[in-house]
């Protein structure tokens, strides 16, 4: 059986693999964007010269894929309904007296299938939504099992069951909401109008600000929520979109603790969602007077966890702001500062 090596635009290579293995990888969405192929790992040719692989990749893109994903979303919704109300050990395929370690192992095997960021940014919204719901449902179940295992001995411990339908299955947080891409919602900024310092009251536990702190918290006291899982590379088409409305009242020039700080080189954007340093963002600033939409890309260069004096949020450095937009922002900021005096 012919073996192949495949490569993507980032020069990453994988091989030797059989056509069957490649079909599984492409069919499951694990691999996409193949640009070159080899049959010896040394001599490479564009994918077009290997019609069997070009065809495979084409079959798993576009409308055919969307139709499959919508069908899959329906199947997963039915699967979630059957999970509700069942004992946790049954959901994880374990004996009733299985240890917490066995539950963890089974949980990790199962839950990763539903990690929403494993799907491409343009996958069917229904599939992203149900994947997020199942992930959070299973995470909640596993967190309950951990809690029960950590409870003092001697007290009777009823078996953990999944909440019965219609369960209070937590809705996906903004990062998991069905949308073309992840969004840091403007709602987060509005929340800060009401409660400008620290996380909103409905947030169960603050997310530690730095990746290292998050890792330690996850290892010591896991909640198994999506932010505790690491290791998936951000895809180029999976950038976070941020839309921010800029008014004179919300704008300042890094001199005051306002809701939004913007200059022609970067911005501070209040948000309760922690973002990793280096996260790539597509930004849209909607200015009100004069009305203008400014688009820019940038990356997160710092994160402020927030305290009694400072608003929680992240700092972005712009990468490719057009000259005319730069001039417009500088002018807007100058006029806004004058208007506030």
């Amino acid at each position: 059986m012919a073996n192949y090596w495949i490569g993507d635009a980032k020069s990453r290579v994988l091989g030797p693999i059989t056509m069957e293995a490649l079909s599984q990888l492409v069919g499951s969405g694990r691999i996409h964007g193949i640009v070159k192929v080899s049959t010896d790992g040394t001599n490479w040719a564009p994918i077009e010269q290997y019609p069997e692989i070009a065809r495979l990749q084409a079959e798993h893109a576009g409308e055919a894929l969307r139709a499959y994903e919508r069908k899959e979303a329906q199947r997963l919704r039915e699967q979630l309904a059957t999970m509700k109300g069942r004992p946790s050990h049954e959901i994880f395929g374990l004996a009733q007296d299985a240890t917490v370690e066995a539950h963890r192992a089974a949980f990790f095997r199962l839950v990763k299938q539903f990690y929403p960021d494993r799907l491409s940014a343009d996958s069917a919204p229904e599939l992203r939504a149900i994947s997020g719901e199942i992930f959070l449902f299973l995470s909640g179940l596993m967190a309950s099992i951990e809690k029960r295992a950590a409870a003092p001995a001697g007290k009777p411990r009823p078996p953990v069951s999944a909440p019965a339908a219609p369960a209070s299955v937590p809705r996906p947080p903004p990062a998991l909401a069905p949308s073309k891409s992840k969004e840091v919602s403007i709602a987060a900024i509005l929340e800060y109008r009401r409660s400008p310092h620290g996380p909103a009251p409905d947030e169960p536990r603050p997310v530690p600000a730095t990746p290292r702190a998050r890792l330690r918290a996850a290892a010591a006291e896991p909640t198994y929520e999506p932010h505790e899982f690491v290791g998936l590379e951000r895809r180029a088409d999976d950038r976070i979109e941020v839309t921010v409305k800029v008014t004179v009242a919300t704008c300042s020039i890094f001199t005051e603790n306002k809701l939004l700080n913007i200059s022609s080189s970067g911005a501070f954007i209040p948000c309760k969602q922690a973002l990793d340093l280096g996260t790539e963002l597509d930004l849209v600033f909607k200015f009100d007077k004069p009305s203008r939409e400014v688009k820019a890309s940038g990356s997160v260069v710092w994160w402020n966890a927030g305290d009694a004096k400072q608003v929680r949020g992240f700092g972005v450095r712009f990468k490719n702001l057009a000259k005319e937009d730069r001039g417009f922002i500088e002018q807007f900021v100058r006029e806004a500062a004058t208007a506030r005096r």
């Binding site: 980032k10 020069s11 694990r30 990790f108 899982f229 290791g231 280096g278």
Partner: protein, 121 residues
């Protein structure tokens, strides 16, 4: 005093390498890193680490090729694959070639620490 065990982290993603370093920072381990397949092979040949945490989809040389060569270069080195390519065929292939385990990305700190502990003991 017992010699520190050595772990080589092989991944082209800086974030993953940093994450694993952070997770293992307090363990009594000698940590090193490689950013691609060629760097990994050089490091394995030179240092003969006790454990390699190996990505599969990387520049210059695939993790599957490294797995095939590692048995010759450093027979006592154990390999734990950490990859998002966790289809049945790839997992089987990695385990058949001598990997002691396969952790699918994204991973949880509890999961990865347990797997590393098991692989080193």
């Amino acid at each position: 005093m017992a010699e520190k065990k050595s772990v080589l982290i092989v991944d082209d993603d800086t974030f993953v390498r940093t994450t694993l370093r952070d997770l293992l920072a307090e363990a009594e381990l000698e940590l090193s890193e490689a950013r691609d397949g060629e760097e990994a092979l050089e490091s394995i040949q030179k240092d003969q680490p006790d454990l390699v945490l190996l990505d599969l989809f990387m520049p210059r040389k695939s993790g599957l090729e490294i797995l095939a060569e590692i048995q010759q270069l450093s027979p006592t080195t154990r390999v734990l694959v950490i990859s998002s390519l966790d289809t049945e065929a790839i997992v089987e292939s990695a385990l058949e070639q001598g990997a002691v385990g396969f952790i699918a990305k994204p991973f949880h700190p509890i999961e990865i620490l347990a797997a590393i502990g098991e692989a080193l003991n």
